[in-house]
Subunit: 290 residues, 2 copies
């Protein structure tokens, strides 16, 4: 059967009003339109739906039967619509973010706090892993946004720079520093670096390799925090991210080596699907960051 669904809205309202005229008012159309519409519906279904009386109309048994179904249908549609409405106004839904721990704690904590304050009904979900896996999460729809070290490209994704970070070399407070260090100079210091599979380390290796300098760290560790602590207790010179070390620098736990020229800055990018529209929550969060 291929009945016009719109007729059912008229049927529904009419059944509720028990009057063609009243239904017409509620639907902002003429009584005549209602009458014609119901007739068409009755013809299409081959069943009389209303008993016409002078003081309005009432449903026939068949009409009653149909009404139950139409009522549930319309309720269902309205539920769907109001769900979307709430989503649109960020009164529900979820924000799924993939980001490494240090990025999260240094760049996302404040926006997340703010976001949650503005939209307390949006569930926030965080995932953290390696860059490549986080990008996969986005592609699989398991994350709306991923924050990853740039440069990085992917056909399916938009990856746009979001935050800037600077790599610097730091030493303990008692370390005797020269007024200026060349790249070669630091390469010869006792270095403490992140492990080779980290993106920061790869970046570092790459730019030093361009200058034909190879790096031979004395210590390799996995956590950024430890880089700071090790340097602080004079185990060597660490390459850390300036933005992540602000506190310790200020407190004098570590000192920044004056490198000349400084290492080029890197960006942290925000990645999301190129072809799928962003969820309202993700859009709102991105707006917050910028």
């Amino acid at each position: 059967m291929k009945t016009k669904l719109d007729y059912y809205r008229v049927f529904y309202e009419t059944a509720r009003c028990r009057s063609f005229s009243d239904a017409a008012q509620h639907l902002y159309i003429s009584q005549s339109a209602i009458s014609q519409c119901i007739h068409q519906l009755e013809d299409a279904l081959g069943v009389k739906l209303f008993i016409r009386t002078r003081q309005g109309v009432s449903l026939t048994n068949e009409g009653q039967l149909l009404f139950l179904k139409v009522e549930s249908a319309i309720n269902s549609i309205e539920q769907g619509e109001s769900q979307l409405e709430r989503l649109r106004h960020l009164e529900s839904g979820e924000l799924k973010i993939a980001a490494g721990d240090s990025i999260t704690s240094h760049f996302l904590l404040k926006p997340l706090e703010e976001f949650h304050a503005s939209y307390p009904d949006v569930r926030i979900e965080m995932a953290n892993s390696y860059s490549s896996q986080m990008l996969s999460l986005v592609k699989e729809g398991k994350a709306d946004l991923a924050f990853v070290n740039m440069p990085l490209t992917d056909d399916e994704l938009v990856i746009e720079p979001c935050f800037e970070i600077n790599d610097i070399f730091v030493c303990g407070p008692d370390f005797e520093t020269k007024s200026s260090y060349s790249w070669k100079d630091v390469a010869d210091l006792p270095l403490i670096l992140l492990e080779k599979n980290s993106s920061s380390r790869r970046f570092l290796n790459a730019i030093f390799k361009e200058k034909k300098i190879s790096l031979h760290p004395q210590i390799e560790i996995a956590a950024h925090d430890l880089l700071i602590r090790f340097a602080s207790i004079h185990l060597g010179v660490s390459c850390v991210i300036e933005q992540f070390s602000e506190e310790e620098l200020k407190k004098g736990l570590i000192k920044k080596l004056p490198l000349n020229p400084p290492l080029p800055s890197r960006s942290i990018g925000c990645a999301y699907l190129k072809n799928a529209p962003l969820s309202y929550a993700a859009k709102a969060f991105l707006d917050l960051i910028k």
Copy 2:
């Protein structure tokens, strides 16, 4: 919200086909129409529903959410439509009849049997009571049809003659009968009649009263069958309904008195609501009777 319900049918089909073009074919409209329709829906809801790719489209999260609701709505509507369809083809539904026992057994049994054979899935419900109550049943919608003795009128009901019945006087086989009886003659015989509150008796009283004859039955009983039995064993002369006594007359258990002129015939009427359309089952049953 006041979205065109028809759009949802397009949305539904498109979501199922995962392609605008395919949906267009299924719905026998152009791909362009689908495209425009979905756009309008997306604009109205303020939400992107589909992710457009080269090999068709897929639902966004929001679209998926909506789809669940729309799917259940459309299923609901289709359930309703098919229910009506089955009703129309008498593959379900019910036939509610109110009629006295003797009318049922003498006039309705065969049609009921036939009806049930033709439409075995229609539930049959019988009620029996006094005429006035049966009419009430119809007015309350608790019966589709009532079979009652005519004449009888009611503003809300159509009561049309259906079966004809003839009242006759009968006696036992050994009773010595004259060649002809006047009404006055039978009034003087030892009469066995139904109780005063039965419609047959009221009818009898009325037509005799017109001729200024009053009736003084020797025996008054409630059941039509007993009238026959009593006459048969020579307790007197009973006034019975010819059509209900055919068997006993044929067997010679009772004899018909030659009354001149005979009593006027009466009708049994079928009553149904004037303003409400008859159910398909009731219509079919009436057709069967005629």
